[in-house]
């Protein structure tokens, strides 16, 4: 069945509040338009990085959509996340070409480097490690994508180095603040 991400934590930490005002323009734009469920959910995800249940409830109340329909759609598509994710999402391609070129080794190396399993987020909420079906860069297999950057013809070692570089930059920018 369609991928269900592992739910290791409740949807939202009690301490975190959802700023519902972010949703006002979104609801204005899509209210009463046909086929609006997916764009609304995409909008919620853009605002928070994932889809908090209170946000879905608020949108349901203010658009007349059924909460159960929204949840059904949100849990169907791989794109929608029902729990918070890291700031940086590391997508490792597991398409056919990448599989043949040993994408498993890339995921294993990253699991080691990040200290999390596939589908999980690091404790500091910086990285989320994910497997994806196909990024369409098959001739450069194995491939991973971080943000809009694609890294091709990887080895486990190179994948680890990419993560270390990003971590260094993250730490660097942290000092400036």
């Amino acid at each position: 069945m369609r991928i269900q991400r592992i739910q290791t934590k409740p949807h939202l930490d009690e301490s975190e509040q959802v700023d519902l005002s972010l949703l006002v323009p979104l609801v204005q734009q899509y209210k009463n338009k046909r086929g609006n469920t997916i764009p609304l959910l995409q909008g919620i995800q853009n605002a928070y990085g994932f889809i908090p249940i209170p946000a879905m409830e608020w949108v349901a109340e203010n658009t007349g959509l059924k909460l159960s329909d929204m949840y059904g759609v949100a849990s169907f598509y791989a794109q929608f996340r029902l729990k918070p994710v890291g700031k940086i999402i590391v997508k490792v391609c597991h398409g056919t070409a990448c599989h043949v070129q040993n994408a498993t080794a890339i995921t294993e190396a990253l699991e080691e480097e990040l200290g999390v399993k596939d589908g999980e987020t690091t404790v500091d909420r910086v990285f989320t490690l994910e497997s994806v079906a196909c990024l369409g860069c098959c001739s450069l297999a194995p491939v991973m994508m971080i943000g809009d950057n694609t890294f091709g013809k990887l080895t486990g070692k190179q994948a680890k180095e990419v993560i270390r570089d990003i971590r260094e930059k993250e730490n660097g920018s942290g000092c400036e603040h």
């Binding site: 997916i38 791989a78 056919t96 043949v100 001739s139 694609t150």
Partner: protein, 592 residues
């Protein structure tokens, strides 16, 4: 004298290989040294294995340089631009002299990919300069009727390039015959087959050809609105489509009374997919546009009768639409002269896997698989033994080496048990385990099954469990029969193409590689030395120098031994990670 041109390939594959850096380097050198040439961008020419690519055009012709770094780019600017002497050893394609990659282009006929790698995809003027929108202009100026266009498409013999292989002209006729007042046209750009990327390449490299094809389709079936349903995983394609749609609206190729044709109003919207393979199925795709879970619906009624929001709808694939303007300009007979009796024209294939020249090729239907792999593809990496090609993605099957003289057309490929699919061709060598491949695809379809039909939902799960246990050395004698029985039940009782074809990878590998399954089940051996639980790593005493390197890298401390004495692997502890083997400098570790 015209200016020299320097053109950098900035498709997704080029960017992944570092073309962005190369472009920046060239731009800064140009500024710094005040060089006189035009710096341009294009997309992928299909030669992914030589990315990043930089083309230099001077008065003597075009030279495409491959595997360019910022250092090499600086060299090229110095020698070729300033001193007029091309650097021969970096050139991968030119008409001026022979290159070692010449074979990659021989035998290719570019129709769908006619502009990819030749134009800046973000410039409508460059598309127009290569006969872009001429088909639409021709329709307007010669007052060609819908019926004639449909007849042209029918005569060209083009069949749906998304995998189904249904004659496009017929599909259009069904939609045309429905006289409802509101009709829609949809472009299926939800290219989900792992191992296929031709649609991405067309959308990124020549988005206007798809828009023009859709507009012609809309005119033919009299639709007023169009959607492009594009995977969210293709951000660059979506960006370029948006640019192209704005440009086309501004120039009047989209909008009201297009090209002065009274009453021909048509506009196109982009719908971003949300990540579900099953949405490539046309009824699931429409459910997704309507904002619902992407679950297939029963057919009939077919989309031409009752599609999007219950209105008559016509759906074609990206590659199909990209061919349409060419057919209208050049005529159907020009198209149908390529191909075989029942499969006309050309087809784009994505060559990947254990192949030297991985990339996109467009070849006439009827070429043999062997020619694609060896003549265009350059053969197998490290000249290992060619074992099979996987055609058609998770719905397709594996064609073994001894059937490599099969010609590629819809019917010949179907006869092997595989399908043409969207044209992903994954090449496998002797180190690829066919049982593991079957397991890989089942894992994919199991995850992507929408859950509507019981046999697809639970059957794929059961099949995956059986395949997994075979690859772990726990297979049972009865497993192959169970797999075949389950396969047939899933095929017979699933509503949509996903379920009906999900067992194909398993059935074809059992058909052609039964001995490999039996080796896993009976002898607990993986002939391709791929399935980890069945492997045994051993140190060859005579060759081991006792350097202790393997001992150090072993993550589970399974290796023992003193300096300068032969080491030993404790099989009970060994996790078969293979680290020792990859580190050993003396080839003293064997895998069996």
């Amino acid at each position: 004298m015209a200016n020299k041109q320097v053109i950098v390939g900035l498709g997704s594959c080029g960017l992944a290989a570092g073309a962005g850096k190369v472009f920046d380097a060239i731009e800064s050198i140009k500024k710094e040294k005040n060089l006189d040439f035009d710096l341009k961008k294009t997309s992928c020419i299909g030669m992914c294995f030589r990315e990043p690519l930089v083309e230099v055009i001077d008065e003597t012709g075009s030279y495409i340089y491959g595997e360019i770094t910022d250092v090499k780019a600086a060299e090229i600017l110095e020698k070729h631009i300033l001193q007029n002497s091309p650097i021969k050893e970096y050139v991968v394609k030119t008409e001026v002299f022979d290159t070692k990659d010449k074979g990659f282009f021989e035998g290719q006929i570019k129709i769908a990919l006619r502009n990819c790698g030749y134009i800046d995809p973000e410039s409508i003027e460059e598309y127009e300069a290569r006969k872009g929108y001429n088909a639409l202009k021709k329709i307007a100026s010669e007052k060609i009727t819908s019926e004639v266009i449909i007849q042209n498409v029918l005569d060209s013999g083009i069949r749906g390039r998304g995998g189904g292989g249904f004659p496009t002209g017929l599909k259009w006729r069904f939609a045309f015959n429905n006289k409802a007042s509101v009709k829609y046209i949809i472009c299926n750009a939800d290219e989900g087959d792992p191992g296929a990327f031709m649609d991405r390449s067309v959308l990124e490299g020549d988005p206007h050809s798809v828009l023009e094809g859709m507009t012609i389709g809309a005119y033919a079936i009299q639709a007023s609105e169009g959607w492009i349903y594009c995977r969210a995983e293709y951000p660059l394609a979506i960006k370029r489509l948006n640019i192209a749609i704005d440009q086309a609206r501004a120039k009047g190729y989209l909008g009201n009374n297009i090209m002065g044709i009274d009453g021909f109003n048509f506009d196109i919207h982009i719908k971003e997919g949300a990540g579900a393979f099953v949405c490539g199925e046309e009824t699931a795709l429409m459910a997704s546009i309507e904002g619902e879970r992407g679950m297939p619906r029963k057919r009939p009624p077919f989309p031409a009768e009752s599609g999007l929001w219950k209105n008559p709808t016509n759906i074609n694939n990206v590659e199909t639409f990209a061919n349409i303007p060419w057919i209208i300009i050049n005529g159907p007979s020009e198209y149908s002269k390529y191909g075989t009796e029942k499969s006309k024209g050309t087809k784009v294939f994505a060559l990947t896997g254990k192949i030297k020249n991985g990339g996109l090729v467009e070849v006439p239907m009827g070429i043999t698989i062997r020619d694609v792999v060896f003549k265009l593809g350059g053969g197998i990496i490290d000249d290992k033994k060619f074992k099979a090609v996987q055609l058609g993605g998770p719905s397709g099957g594996c064609i073994p080496e001894y059937l490599a003289d099969t010609v590629v057309d819809y019917d010949s490929v179907n006869a092997t048990g595989a399908i043409m699919g969207s044209g992903g061709m994954v090449v496998m060598d002797e180190t690829t385990c066919m049982v593991d491949m079957a397991r890989f695809f089942l894992d994919f379809t199991k995850k992507e099954s929408c859950g509507k039909c019981t046999f697809c939902r639970i059957g794929t799960q059961r099949m995956l469990e059986i395949l997994t246990r075979i690859t772990e050395g726990n297979g049972l004698e009865t497993d192959l029969d169970t797999l075949i029985e389950l396969s047939n039940q899933i095929k017979n009782s699933s509503l949509c193409g996903l379920g009906q074809t999900a067992p194909n990878p398993v059935l074809t590998t059992i058909k052609y590689f039964r001995d490999e399954y039996e080796a896993h089940i009976r002898d607990k051996k993986c002939p391709a030395k791929n399935c980890k639980p069945l492997l045994k790593f051993e140190i060859i005493e005579d060759k081991c120098t006792g350097c202790m390197l393997c001992k150090k890298v072993c993550p589970v401390n399974a290796i023992s031994g003193e300096r300068k004495l032969a080491h030993l692997i404790d099989q009970a502890l060994c996790t078969k990670c293979g680290m020792c083997m990859s580190k050993c400098k003396f080839v003293a570790i064997s895998k069996s």
